[in-house]
């Protein structure tokens, strides 16, 4: 840190103007623009001179000793919009009175809409919501998307808890049955790829790593603002991809004539797993599935009975092959040979230990995550332009051993006025990401949460496992708790957890280049032309390893992926006053988009030859041909918009776009999409004191969607040749040469009002969107010889309400309280599917449940086996166990929440600021595979709890044990049958339960974020010199789950971003973050 600031000082000295001429001063008064009240303590500042002062009690200020020249004067004050204007000093005193606009309602706040067109809130005729870049940067997230959580009504973000995990980002619910439902990201007017990098196996819980999404390559410190365009009307100009809404990001731009500015932002982030989101274990019973292990009379049936010490007596040996805890009751008097008795390097080799619960259960596996984030932004504004440079470095370690994620982000931006009419601009970004040891996911041995939450022995001590791993790492021996047999050479189901982390780790890297160059030419006052070329490209490598000695087949896999998108835009922006009352503005343009994706995926076959060498040549058998992918997409678009504004109270906006896409059949590849939006500022027509502002909005839009690439022509699948005999196979998906574009139609109505001098305001939106003619690989009867066929069919309707309320309940001279509420609700229904089809399965998941689009139901219906009900109560059979349906075709849940909301509070007292955000979701079902299996293997306290007789449920029913499952008996009376629960597969878990028993309500209330920050007073800063601003903050993220119904897990967890939600298996706990941040401005 010290080194950095020294070098900055040097730069400053070099760059600051050295010659001082005649001097003058500036004075004036700062007042509230709406009330005229003076504003004391406002910061008045000249950046170029690095000179600032605070207003006095009456709002007055004086800046003295100012050399002659023109300066940009900026004023900032809590709760008000920043003010900037030029002041010319010529050796005398200049008076400059300043009126500040309150910021909370922000009617004049500038919104960035499609193709970078800036509009005030007043002029918008569709739903949009803005988040300041500062709000994002302040929370110091490692992934800026997380920081958007709860800030925009209708925007649902769920981030996976794994280090660098993916975020599911959906606006207004799911619209496309099998297509992409994620929002479009646009950075400085150019689409920014946000692909989810995960395999379909990963997304359906079969295993693999969560490589996150690529929008995280954006440097949060470089974000000026984020504008969320919610509906198709707002985003229609972007074409096909905007049907899901758009997140329009504007990066920080330099300022002409602003002089030199340097900002250093540095933080340290400490993360700990949240125990309320992880398994709790019962501590009474140990390894085993039940009393199955006796070989001869007199044996203890809960243990293996082997003569270990040669004394002729059969000794007790833990049933270490069994990955469950339905075994013998703990009893310190019993001496039992455990897994380490078979490890020759162990001090316990050949020795028995007392039979007790582990001192270090899996909670001791988690480490403290540390993230150091340092950034420097450097900008220089000169007469004819500016340039800026930024560098951000983030080094993160996760909560699992041997995990790290490092990012470097560089950005350069420049603008230069070539002539008074021509400006050349460039913006270039580089983002380098290196990951190591990302967390395994899904139902796989490399996901330790699967072990810890589903298949575990409560007698296994993690500390002993850790020591065992390190003792044996030199000889590449996997000393697991789960030996296959007494020769103790290999695991049967699970590896030593430390082996998994230190041997079977992945590494990955992504080098991304993103940027554009453009020329802007002012043809006339009312017309300018922009030509722009932009590139978004990255190369990515993912390398996955499974070491020799692991339970999974030893493997080295490498996956190389290249992505490139080129956009060529030509835009004409016009803005003209047709008459005194009517203005007309808009854009006419064309966009050529070319997208190219390639990948190659290769892995070793059937094992590795030598240990520790992760290269394709180390394959035990000859390599199978790698999978290659090469996909190109081209879209040519023409578009125009016209925005009529009559007397600033009546707004009519028309847009239209024509796209031609390469992925549709050539005779059907052109599609048009129009939109009409109107806004009426009715407060202009009324003379009501109570109403400051009122606007009605109404709009209609259509958006077209193109087909996925390669969905027109059939190709064959290519299995590995059988020896020298080549094999080909008909692909399981039938493509369709008659596809036509998919379409979305949307209506939206909105009402915005503000009252009480803008102290209270709201924005209410209602929308109804229909996505029809969907291009779906429809599930068809396999008897056709195919699994799926691409067709145009199916409709999803989304109706919803979004509400944002902003208020400033308290505003005094020193204290401001801002309160805002976001709330949204949508109703989603699959209204039709291809003829004869009632259901499209989105994913078939472990545990026998499926996620579906079913006619007449919300998208994302969870199907599985259900209870048999009587009078609404589950029926319990005479055995005491639940009765269940014979099929697993019943709808047992809906992944969509009933509503989501957030409350955000911000308090400002002088230089102190405190804010917190509470985020909540009501409803949204989750099937928990962790409970489905983990209850069945006896890990959780419920499986060893006391029953109504005060006996342990595992005790024999004849002794008063057993469990009474909630429900009714077959005759409808309340259940009072004690069901035996003495071994796995009985009263708890998968074997005797319907899937519905382990479907949970995913509601939560979370304290998402809390921040305390302090800005050093201007006076103090002036004394220090050099520095212009010092902000200190303490930030907490995900501190507290105030309420949830899902036990032992975070209800926001899923498998991955994507369409398959409402399911948890091997879920990671959430991490509480505490961040200390220091920001210095020079």
């Amino acid at each position: 840190m010290i080194k950095k600031s020294l070098s900055i000082q040097l730069l400053l000295i070099l760059l600051l103007p050295a010659v001082m001429l005649a001097q003058g001063s500036i004075e004036g008064k700062v007042t509230d623009a709406s009330t005229g009240d003076p504003l004391p303590g406002a910061n008045v500042y000249i950046k170029k001179l690095n000179k600032g002062v605070a207003t006095d009690a009456n709002g007055n200020y004086t800046l003295e000793s100012i050399s002659a020249g023109t300066y940009q004067l900026t004023v900032s004050y809590v709760g008000y919009k920043n003010y900037a204007d030029n002041v010319t000093v010529d050796g005398e005193t200049v008076t400059k009175n300043i009126k500040l606009q309150p910021s909370s309602m922000g009617l004049n706040e500038v919104y960035v809409t499609a193709y970078g067109v800036k509009k005030s809130k007043n002029e918008l005729s569709y739903a949009a919501q803005k988040v300041d870049g500062d709000e994002i940067a302040k929370t110091r997230p490692s992934n800026f998307i997380e920081a958007l959580n709860g800030r925009v009504s209708g925007l649902r973000i769920s981030s996976q808890n794994g280090m660098g995990g993916s975020s599911n980002i959906v606006l207004r619910g799911y619209k496309s049955i099998t297509g992409n439902n994620q929002v479009l990201f646009v950075v400085d007017g150019v689409p920014y790829d946000n692909s989810i990098q995960n395999t379909s196996d990963q997304q359906t819980g079969r295993g693999g790593y969560d490589y996150g999404n690529t929008a995280t390559d954006i440097n949060p410190d470089n974000i000026e603002s984020i504008n969320v365009l919610k509906g198709p009307a707002a985003a229609a100009l972007y074409g096909s991809r905007a049907a899901n809404g758009a997140v329009v990001i504007t990066t920080k731009q330099g300022e002409k004539g602003a002089g030199v500015g340097v900002t250093v932002n540095s933080s340290i982030d400490i993360g700990r797993y949240d125990p309320s989101t992880f398994a709790k274990y019962q501590h009474q019973y140990g390894a085993g599935y039940g009393p199955f292990y006796a070989d001869q009379a007199g044996d203890n049936p809960y243990f293996f009975n082997i003569d270990m010490n040669g004394d002729g007596q059969r000794d007790l040996v833990v049933p270490f092959t069994e990955d469950a805890s339905f075994g013998a009751k703990f009893d310190p008097k019993l001496n039992v040979y455990q897994w380490d008795a078979f490890d020759p390097s162990s001090p316990n080799y050949g020795k028995a230990r007392p039979w007790v619960a582990a001192k270090n259960d899996p909670t001791s596996f988690f480490e403290t995550s540390v993230t150091a984030k340092n950034s420097i932004m450097f900008d220089v504004g000169f007469d004819k332009g500016y340039f800026k440079l930024g560098y951000d470095q983030t080094n993160q370690t996760g909560i699992l051993p041997n995990s790290s994620l490092n990012k470097h982000k560089l950005n350069f931006g420049a603008s230069y006025d070539v002539t008074s009419r021509l400006t050349a601009n460039a913006d270039l970004n580089v983002a380098l990401t290196d990951g190591k040891g990302r967390y395994g996911t899904g139902y796989d041995a490399n996901n330790l949460m699967t072990t810890f939450r589903q298949w575990w022995e409560t007698n296994v001590d993690l500390n002993r496992q850790r020591k065992a791993y390190f003792r044996n790492s030199d000889i590449n021996k996997n000393v697991t708790w789960n030996w296959a047999n007494t020769s103790a050479n290999s695991p049967i189901f699970w590896d030593n957890p430390y082996w998994v982390r230190y041997e079977n780790y992945e590494t990955d890297g992504r080098d991304r280049y993103f940027g554009n160059v453009n020329l802007k030419y002012d043809v006339a006052d009312w017309l300018n032309l922009t030509g722009r070329v932009s590139i978004d490209s990255y190369r990515q490598i993912q390398e996955e390893r499974t070491a020799k000695g692991s339970i999974n087949i030893p493997t080295y896999r490498r996956y190389n992926r290249n992505y490139a998108e080129y956009n060529y835009d030509l835009l004409a922006n016009y803005n003209t006053q047709v008459s005194e009352d009517l203005s007309l503005s808009g854009v006419v343009g064309m966009n050529i988009r070319r997208n190219h994706r390639t990948s190659i995926d290769a892995q070793t076959n059937g094992g590795l030859l030598v240990p520790d060498l992760y290269a394709l040549l180390n394959s035990a058998n000859s390599l199978e041909a790698p999978n290659e992918m090469d996909a190109k997409l081209g879209v040519n678009g023409f578009f125009a918009s016209a925005n009529f504004n009559y007397k600033k109270f009546l707004i009519l906006e028309l847009t239209g776009r024509r796209d031609q896409s390469s992925s549709l059949p050539s005779d059907n590849n052109v599609y048009y999409y129009p939109s009409v939006s109107t806004g009426l500022v009715f407060s202009e027509l009324m003379d009501a004191d109570w109403l400051n502002y009122g606007k009605l909005r109404l709009n209609y839009a259509e958006v077209g969607h193109t087909a996925p690439v390669h969905s027109i022509v059939d190709t064959y699948a290519t299995p590995t040749p059988f020896g020298s005999v080549p094999l080909f196979s008909v692909d399981s998906r039938k493509n369709n040469p008659n596809l036509k574009p998919e379409r979305t139609r949307s209506w939206e109505a909105g009402l915005e009002m503000s009252f009480l001098n803008d102290r209270l305001g709201f924005d209410l939106t209602y929308y109804d969107e229909n996505t029809f003619d969907q291009i779906v690989p429809a599930e068809i009867s396999r008897a056709t010889g195919y699994s799926q066929k691409y067709i145009n069919a199916g409709t999803i309707e989304n109706k919803g309400v979004e509400l944002t309320v902003n208020s400033r309940p308290v505003v005094t001279q020193n204290f401001v309280w801002n309160l805002s509420v976001n709330w949204s609700k949508y109703q989603n229904e699959v209204t039709s599917l291809p003829e004869g089809i009632q259901n499209i399965e989105l994913a078939s998941l472990q545990g026998g449940v499926t996620i579906n689009a079913a006619v007449g139901h919300p998208y994302g219906a969870i199907r599985g086996s259900d209870f048999i009900y009587k009078n609404g109560q589950p029926v319990v059979a005479s055995s005491g166990y639940y009765e269940k349906t014979g099929t697993s075709n019943n709808i047992i849940g809906d992944m969509n929440p009933d509503w989501t909301g957030s409350i955000s509070n911000q308090f400002q007292y002088n230089n102190w600021s405190l804010s917190f955000l509470v985020d909540m979701r009501h409803g949204g079902d989750i099937f928990s595979l962790d409970q489905w299996y983990g209850q069945g293997t006896g890990l959780y306290p419920e499986t060893a709890a006391l029953n109504d007789n005060g006996k342990n449920v595992r005790d024999p029913v004849s002794d008063g044990g057993g469990v009474v499952l909630p429900g009714v008996k077959e005759d409808g009376s309340p259940n009072d049958i004690h069901a035996a629960a003495y071994y796995y597969g009985y009263a708890f878990g998968w074997a005797h339960s319907p899937n519905a028993r382990y479907v949970y309500d995913g509601s939560y209330v979370k304290l998402r974020q809390a921040t305390i920050s302090y800005s050093l007073p201007t006076k103090l800063i002036n004394k220090i010199g050099i520095v212009n601003g010092v902000d200190l903050s303490l930030i907490g993220r995900n501190l507290w789950i105030i309420h949830k119904n899902l036990p032992y897990a975070d209800p926001e967890q899923g498998l991955s971003a994507g369409n398959v939600q409402g399911y948890q298996g091997g879920a990671y706990p959430s991490t509480r973050h505490v961040v200390f941040n220091l920001r210095l401005k020079f």
Binding site: A484, F728, S781, A783, T784
Partner: protein, 486 residues
Amino acid sequence: MKKLFFLILTVTVLASCSDLTDLNKDPKNPAKVSGETLFSNAQKELGDFLSSTNVNINIFKLVSQYWTETTYTDEANYDLSGRQIPSNDWSILYRNVLKDLDQSSKLIADDNTIPAGVKQNEQACIEIMKVLTYSNMVNIWGDIPYSEALNIDNTLPKYDDGMSIYKDLVKRLDAAKNKLDPSNGGFGSADLIYGSSSNSIEEWIKFANSIKLRMGITIADVDAQTAQQWIQDAAPNAFTSNDDNALIYYKPSPPNTNPLWEDLVQSGRADFVAANTVVDTMNAINDPRRGEYFTAKPDTTIFVGGYYAANNKYGNYSHPGDKVEEPTFPGIYMQYSEVAFIKAEAVERGFLNGSAEQHYNNGIRASMEYWGVADQDIQDYLNQSDVAYNSAPGDFKAKIGLQKWLALYLQGLQAWTEFRRLDNPTLNARYYYDRSGNLQQNDQEDVPKRFTYPIKEQNVNTAQYNKASDAIGGDDVSTKLFWDVN
């Protein structure tokens, strides 16, 4: 600067005029292949399906109680829905086997480079593979989509009656047999079953007749007259020795090994042990195949099977034998021993003349020879009073049912079919442990009579599914198939 704009404008307009559709070509996957390659793939897919012991696909070795499971006993307890086994099998057979055969036939028909005689033989082989596959499917589910199957333009195919499918299949089998001409070549090395034989077409004729025999005996209880016709026609030209066996010779390295190797060896797991049902039976009659089918119980020389469907400690019981665990262990479509047992039964039923005992002995001998049992041991075995045809207990169904079951080891699907049809041997009711570790047994054996239809059919082909379910008497595991009348 204006020049620059015109330049950009020109470039963009030019770019927009190029043929966009070309971008949508897939340069990495083939759009044209030869028909033979699809035939080979279909053979492998069917071979894999029949051989596998993957619990998501083939649980017939459990259902027919050759094997049982160790820790996770859901499938041994006949749980079909947890892993959607019917859906998986339906997909494999329709999509991976039948569709590839269908497409192979179309491509070969259009291929002008293949001589007409060869083409005719190839089309006949494809038909035989289709008949084999469909007949297996009828034996799993009963009524299935057939006349409207494999047509992408009809995504809602109706289900046909099992018996009419059987009859049509035999018609097709006859036509294919008649087309086969040994003076012309066939698929050659693309034929994974008989490609290495010196006269593969003759083998295919025998194979077709053997399939017809099997189909005939399957319907013997429900339509004796038709059964007799089919059997009389096919018997003279069916398999005559183990040299005729329809096998797939797997390769030593993945993914072309016997699928058993993947689940038994490569997985490192210990999921399966011999079931007490078969081991107890073999012990009682000193079956010399024991040591080939299974290993001895670890550290002993005795053979012990795990209690069927109960939890079994892997180390306490016999496991699948060493041969079975070889990656190159051949997969079996059909063997001569089965043909011999069919003939024995046909004689008993009066369909054929001759000696049932002779055929019975041939069946046992062929099976033992296939597994490498020494001649003397075979003779000793046959001489035992419990084995010798004249003295073995029970009626012909019991005698043949038992020995056929023992000979069909690893061919779980066919063994299950024979068990359902002959109601012999007696399989075990499922075992479980009580709290004190005492072994208990269910009151009665409840082996499924059929598989339920895939849930996917219920959802995507609802109307036809409902009709089919009604037609067979309910889509349930306890519904007996049309040929299962006793």
